[in-house]
């Protein structure tokens, strides 16, 4: 505690997320956590470690490997007035619950003529980089961002890991939170919260004037590293962290492109039909005449993510790829 300024403290992304859940569980007895190994095991990525001891097995509820049943149970419990946080191991396994997420959580409010809001939070890991191969490494959050009726969040910083859960739980509608697996060990200072996170707003993480690097989640650290490298080449890069993938914050994107007149979109998902495609389409629709260069996209290679480290790294967006794309746009 407190190695930095008095009002900041050292923590990790994982601990920040855990702290957010602890706070929510303490503040509201309608909140409970449910998922595979969230209790005794402490969460498959250790996020809920210690919560069972404080809140007991009813509220830190270990579920069998039945993604569809326990996500659906979260929906039913939410309909009945509770505020469940459902944890799914990875986005790949969330596909087993896709029926419940899409056909129930996202549609019940509309299909019932406004009678049945579903105040449910679903958390899951996403992304590659840890040699977990093709069934544990994909970035499918863009698919979820396709669906009307749900909100999709991708906290990329310790601050967002700590502070996005509370407004997500306050949202009367389903919220999906995607935690990039490579971020859990990120260590740093947690600044005190000046005002609640606005879930409708993207965040500009670094100001710049020459090019906008628009990204989210696990690609944010890469974009920030690329901005550092570009600064050495006298290119001033602005870094926009979308952080809410649905609804997209068009205003922040527009304003950034209006400042820099160039954009590189960095998205760890596959390029075809990706969130990067959506963002670039919107830039084309809304800001075409602001552009001084074609929009660039840095995405994953269109391949199931391979195990071998060299191959995996080659498949993913790298800082060097972002720098190169920025140079193409600027030079």
């Amino acid at each position: 505690m407190g190695t930095g300024r008095a009002d900041e403290r050292k923590t990790t992304y994982r601990e920040a997320m855990r702290e957010a859940m602890r706070e929510a569980l303490r503040a509201d007895d309608r909140v409970f956590l449910m998922g595979e190994d969230v209790g005794r095991y402490g969460g498959c990525f250790g996020v809920s470690l210690g919560l069972l001891e404080e809140f007991g097995p009813e509220r830190i509820r270990d579920a069998p490997l039945s993604e569809s049943a326990f996500v659906g149970a979260g929906i039913g419990a939410a309909l009945s007035g509770l505020r469940p946080i459902v944890e799914i191991m990875t986005v790949n396994s969330s596909l087993l619950a896709l029926d419940q997420i899409l056909n129930n959580a996202a549609t019940l409010l509309h299909m019932s003529g406004g009678q049945l809001p579903v105040p449910l939070v679903i958390r899951m890991t996403t992304g590659a980089g840890r040699q977990l191969a093709a069934q544990h490494s994909h970035s499918l959050e863009g698919w979820y961002a396709h669906i009307p009726g749900i909100r999709v969040l991708a906290p990329a910083t310790i601050g967002d890991a700590r502070h996005m859960l509370a407004p997500a739980l306050a949202d009367p509608d389903p919220v999906l939170i995607f935690e990039h697996g490579s971020l859990y060990n990120t260590a740093g200072e947690l600044a005190p919260l000046s005002s609640p996170v606005d879930l409708d707003r993207a965040a500009v993480r670094r100001r710049g004037t020459d090019i906008s690097l628009i990204t989210y989640g696990g690609s944010l650290p890469k974009a920030l590293a690329a901005a550092d490298e570009l600064a050495a080449d006298d290119i001033s890069a602005e870094v926009v962290d979308l952080r809410t993938l649905r609804p997209l914050d068009d205003e922040t994107i527009d304003a950034s492109v209006a400042r820099t007149h160039r954009a590189v979109i960095v998205d760890e998902a596959w390029r075809s039909g990706s969130l990067a495609a959506e963002v670039s389409a919107r830039i084309a629709e809304r800001s075409l005449y602001e552009l001084d260069a074609p929009v660039e996209r840095v995405c994953s290679a269109e391949v199931p993510i391979p195990y071998a480290r060299l191959l995996e790294q080659a498949a993913l967006p790298r800082t060097a790829d972002i720098v190169a794309a920025a140079h193409r746009a600027v030079d």
Binding site: F32, G72, G76, L79, P84, D99, S112, G114, G149
Partner: protein
């Protein structure tokens, strides 16, 4: 009460003669038919109660017959799945539920919605896609909702309502509320993982969940022996560690007795219960279905065990219902349905400007 059939294959034939409820004979499945068929429901005059049951079943029957006419007249569109022949299940089970309990149903749910008390007018208006419909015209025949009556649809994905029902039950269990969540689903749902995941979860967590399988012997056009390796559904449900038994779903009084018994044990903290309702739909799967896969004699055999006629005959035999009373019931139903159709005809369309309403609670969705 002996097991109704062999375990491997169930011949599609009605069991109208005397078979009230049949036990699976497993450790957790005991005879639901201890009470005689003619025993009145405790504390209620039998004659009056039977009249109510008859009225409720006839009301569903006539409502759906009107739906067929309105569909032919192109007033109603989309998929419409008729419950005709299965009315005893929704009506009988509903008798065991209170207004505090919850119901989750399938896309063949006009009967469940009407039995639950959603006004015929609101259901009809929903079929018309009008703003006064019970889902504001956004659901249609397959998605009837009424939050106030704790009627949670109307789910068009086979078995998709089961996990949600488990969640409603979980919330009650966590808060110590002595309520029951009743989930209806068909025999087709047995082939879905969501059924088995939910059955396991419900038994594991001792959830106050009443699982009512409406086994009408066909998953759309596929006969049960062609979609289930083991067609004894109660037996399989019992394997999850919950009491399960099969019921003659064409006998509304047998259905009611079984449902009351199940609901009572659930309310007492006994965990989930499973009822296999052996029933049959007299009409095709939907308005699009030419019904080529069923033998006409099979359909006729089951029609001979019509749950409405069966109760009518029983009340006549017992001198409880005269032609005059029956005519009176029919008249009241006709008046109610006429009024519902008239109201649906007159009701306003939802404004196209409101297209994006209710996508999120923020009223209009921002993308």
């Amino acid at each position: 009460m002996s097991p109704a059939r062999g375990t491997r294959k169930r011949k599609a034939s009605p069991s109208t003669q005397g078979a009230s409820t049949a036990s699976t004979g497993r450790t957790t499945a005991t005879s639901a038919a201890a009470a005689s068929e003619r025993e009145p429901v405790a504390g209620r005059p039998r004659t009056e109660h039977r009249r109510e049951l008859l009225h409720a079943m006839l009301r569903i029957r006539r409502f759906e017959e009107r739906c067929v006419e309105l569909y032919s007249a192109a007033k109603i569109r989309g998929f419409v799945h008729l419950y005709i022949g299965e009315e005893a299940v929704a009506v009988g089970v509903n008798e065991a539920l209170t207004s505090e309990d919850a119901v989750v149903a399938t896309y063949r749910e006009h009967g469940h919605a009407l039995a639950r008390g959603i006004p015929a007018e609101a259901v009809m208006a929903e079929m018309y896609g009008k703003t006064t419909g019970c889902s504001g015209g956004r659901g249609g025949s397959m998605h009837l909702f009424d939050a106030g009556r704790r009627f949670y649809g109307g789910n068009a994905i086979v078995a998709g309502g089961l996990p949600l029902a488990a969640g409603l039950a979980l919330a009650d269990r966590m808060r110590g509320q002595p309520r029951v969540t009743c989930c209806f689903f068909g025999d087709g749902a047995y082939a879905e993982g969501e059924f088995h995941e939910t059955a396991n979860l419900a038994a594991l967590w001792n959830l106050p969940l009443l699982l009512v399988c409406e086994n009408n012997l066909y998953a759309m056009g596929t006969a049960i022996e062609r979609h289930e390796a083991q067609t004894d559904l109660a037996l399989r449900a019992a394997s999850y560690g919950m009491a399960a038994w099969a019921v003659d779903g064409m006998d509304v009084e047998a259905v009611e007795r079984a449902a009351r018994r199940a609901a009572e044990s659930i309310r007492g903290g006994g965990g989930p219960r499973f009822l296999e309702m052996r029933t049959y739909r007299f009409r095709a799967h939907s308005m699009y279905d030419p019904d080529r896969y069923r033998d006409k004699t099979e359909v006729e055999q089951w029609k001979a065990g019509d749950p409405v006629t069966r109760l009518m005959d029983r009340t006549r035999e017992d001198g409880e219902l005269g032609e005059k009373e029956l005519t009176g019931i029919e008249r009241r139903i006709t008046e109610e349905i006429d009024a519902a159709v008239e109201a649906a005809e007159q009701a306003p369309e939802e404004s196209v400007e409101d297209l994006l309403r209710h996508v999120t609670s923020r009223s209009t969705e921002v993308t």
